[in-house]
């Protein structure tokens, strides 16, 4: 949607681009939607200006994991509303998971998403195609045709492929198209009936448990299959210490295995599940303190490749139910960067450069997008953020159509200031 007719000059920001080892005070000139120059005191009399002093100017953030609910559940979110929320969170691109109604298992659904996003979304939307038809786990979806229509990865997110033989061949087939296979790793037999992490809090609340093992057996299976097929395998919303160890070992063996962690999994634990509030219910569930600490460690030591939101909107009435009945998932676009700055950077766990890797450089590499960089000539997708800005999240001001968040009212240090897609400012703080 953004047009890029006018030149734009970002002045005096801290330009931080780990893709080219860049970290310095400079101006960024954008011309025709692309990066034209980076340097001190650039002259561009015709260009619109944005004062970025005190801010970090980074390659645009890419959310590898989001649910935009369109087509099919537009009461909870649309490509437009989700796109606006993403822009307000500092994201310039989002990957849209295929569990829409209908499932994105064909080129026609992919076309619809691409076209709708082009017309209505302020940010880039890259669809993820289903692995199997209707994500039923029985027959492969038309992966090649979807690739031509614009998918950038495949996943049966939320309805993971239980049949190991199908998964093996899906990985093998996808590798022929250079597509990364993203798996929501959950053994559905092990997690059946589960409502929250299996542990003391679940026993105390009388809620069915979702064991760490239900994730870990699938991470383990998929790593073995990735080794066999040579496919690029990406673990969606990894949440347990055991899964992280397996990814760490796979990387040591040189396998093309990557993983993402959500802000809620590095922020909260199962002990935060209180008063049967379904805003604390998601899959994977909030894990133990040890698991949460392992996520923090993995983010710091490089094992974790990306931060992804798993933005999962549900209309208010759906979450205002018994915990057992309420659907899994929370929204996450608008709080992701604030939580990462507040809980990871300001606590000294990671550097700002590492944060930019996690939000931009690495996600682009994981799915092979020609983004995540500010190199001259690159598409001008840029995230401007202020690491010091203090703000409080008010979900009632959200651009999302849904309000299901555990972070309402949370005070954070650091947040997005402006989001630029193809050279155009699509969101600015206070706008």
């Amino acid at each position: 949607m953004p047009d890029s007719s006018q030149d734009l000059l970002l002045q005096n920001g801290r330009v931080l681009d780990p893709s080219q080892g860049l970290d310095r005070q400079a101006d960024v000139l954008i011309r025709s939607g692309r990066i034209a120059a980076i340097g001190p005191n650039l002259a561009a009399p015709e260009a619109a200006r944005l004062d970025a002093s005190g801010c970090v100017v980074a390659p645009g953030f890419i959310d590898l994991h989001a649910h935009l609910r369109e087509p099919g559940r537009e009461h909870a979110e649309t490509i437009e509303s989700g796109g606006r929320a993403a822009a307000a969170g500092g994201f310039t691109s989002v990957l849209a998971m295929p569990n829409t109604q209908p499932v994105n298992d064909s080129a026609s659904v992919t076309h619809f998403i691409v076209q709708t996003a082009r017309e209505q979304s302020p940010v880039n939307v890259f669809p993820v195609g289903a692995i199997s038809e209707k994500s039923c786990g029985e027959r492969l979806a038309s992966i090649g045709a979807m690739r031509e229509a614009g998918i950038v990865a495949i996943s049966d997110d939320g309805r993971p492929v239980m049949n190991s033989d199908l998964m093996r061949h899906a990985m093998s087939y996808a590798s022929g198209f250079g597509l990364t296979v993203i798996d929501h790793c959950e053994d559905l037999d092990l997690s059946a009936g589960g409502q929250m992490h299996e542990g003391f809090t679940a026993v105390r609340h009388g809620l069915g448990g979702i064991s760490a093992a239900s994730e870990e057996v699938m991470v383990s299976r998929d790593i073995l299959l990735a080794a066999k097929t040579g496919a690029r395998f990406h673990v969606a919303h990894l949440s347990t210490a055991g899964s992280l160890d397996m990814v760490r070992q796979a990387k040591r063996r040189g396998l093309p295995v990557t993983c993402e962690v959500t802000p809620h999994h590095f922020t909260l634990t199962d002990e935060d599940v209180k008063d049967y509030d379904a805003n604390f219910k998601m899959k994977p569930p909030l894990r133990s303190r040890e698991d949460r600490d392992a996520m923090l460690e993995g983010l710091a030591d490089g094992t974790v490749d990306a931060i992804a939101t798993d933005h999962a909107p549900h209309a208010g009435s759906e979450k205002m139910q018994e915990f057992d009945v309420a659907p899994f998932g929370i929204i996450g676009f608008e709080t992701a960067l604030g939580l990462a700055l507040d809980r990871l950077v300001h606590t000294g766990r990671i550097s700002l450069a590492r944060l930019v890797e996690l939000f931009s450089v690495n996600p682009a590499r994981i799915v092979g997008l020609d983004r995540g960089t500010l190199k001259v000539g690159a598409v001008a997708d840029i995230t401007v953020f202020d690491p010091e800005r203090r703000w409080t999240y008010d979900v009632n001001q959200s651009f999302s159509r849904s309000r299901n968040t555990p972070f309402h009212g949370l005070a954070l240090r650091g947040g997005p200031v402006a989001t630029i897609v193809t050279g155009k400012i699509v969101w600015q703080v206070g706008s």
């Binding site: 809620l207 915990f323 057992d324």
Partner: protein, 317 residues
């Protein structure tokens, strides 16, 4: 306790529980009498809303309310609210708009009354929520134990059966440990999660009946529902009874004055043998009788309040 409802035992202090038990003691003699009912709650309306089938708890609550002179309305909702197309919260808001003084509620979802209590002014009495709590059962169990033992402190209580899915086990665990009793849970390992031991140092678990019963003062058997059970957890009813059913010979290891309890309904030959169920030191029917006294006490303290004048002492029968 006034105005807050009764959602569980866990949030209560020992003093609050003691107050309920003291009041229940007062109502115990009334149960054996015929005739006159009290007017403590005259003019009060109590809705009994049961989303799960229940014979004894529902009847017991109704009789308790009626013996206190309250007007009662009982609603049985088959299946979940979702099946009816109305959300649970909408249903409760509708009922609350009719201005009952309290809603007694049973629901198959753990935390359903807690969820509702965040939105409703009307006090909610939890008559069992999923696999979470069943506070009045633990109170009546405590009253029953105290009919046979001078105090809860120092007692060894064996709770045997499907602990993982038992709201009775959880409420009893909270109540007993608050009063210094020790609890030993027993059953097949898939039904006795290890996390139980994290509640209190006075909680242990074992997978052997003999070990659980040795020196026990109280043996509390729980119902096992194979039809509602994940079939992966236990092989069969007959194997269950063989290893975890309570038989007369087990009782030799217990203290000579040990009592046997069961929240009911009992399954003879499944978790408890007929001989034990009818055994002289079985307190099972005593529990049922105490259920009414305890529920009268809870309703009285909740609705009449501590400041209200104590009800007229019923004449001895």
């Amino acid at each position: 306790m006034r105005g807050k409802g009764l959602l569980g035992i866990e949030p209560l202090t020992a003093e609050e529980i003691q107050k309920i038990l003291d009041r229940a003691r007062f109502y115990q003699p009334l149960q054996a009498r015929t005739g006159r009912k009290l007017d403590t709650l005259r003019g009060r309306t109590i809705i009994h809303l049961f989303y799960e089938s229940s014979t004894r708890t529902r009847t017991s609550f109704e009789i308790a309310a009626k013996r206190l002179g309250a007007d009662t309305v009982t609603l049985s909702a088959k299946g979940s609210s979702v099946d009816k197309g109305e959300s649970l919260l909408d249903t409760l808001n509708t009922l609350a708009a009719m201005r009952p003084d309290a809603i007694v509620m049973r629901h198959s979802a753990s935390g359903a009354p807690h969820f509702l209590a965040r939105y409703l002014e009307t006090p909610i009495l939890n008559a069992g929520d999923g696999t979470h709590e069943h506070p009045t059962q633990a109170l009546l169990d405590a009253l029953t134990i105290l009919d046979h033992k001078p105090s809860l402190a120092g007692l060894r209580v064996a709770i045997i059966g499907d602990i993982a899915h038992s709201r009775v086990a959880r409420s009893n665990l909270h109540l007993l440990t608050k009063f210094g009793a020790s609890v030993v849970f027993c059953g097949p390992p898939p039904l006795v999660p290890r996390e139980l031991e994290c509640f209190s140092p006075n909680v242990t678990r074992t997978f052997r009946m003999e070990e659980a019963i040795t020196d026990a003062d109280v043996i509390m058997m729980l119902r096992v529902q194979f039809e509602r059970q994940n079939p992966h957890r236990v092989p069969s009813a007959s194997e269950y009874f063989r290893f975890y059913g309570l038989r007369l010979e087990h009782l030799r290891a217990a203290r000579p004055d040990a009592i046997v309890m069961h929240p009911g309904p009992i399954n003879r030959g499944r978790e408890i043998s007929s001989e034990v169920a009818d055994f002289p030191r079985s307190a099972i029917l005593n529990q049922v009788e105490n259920g009414i006294a305890v529920r009268m006490a809870v309703l009285d303290l909740l609705l009449a309040g501590e400041s209200a004048k104590p009800p007229e002492r019923p004449p001895a029968s």
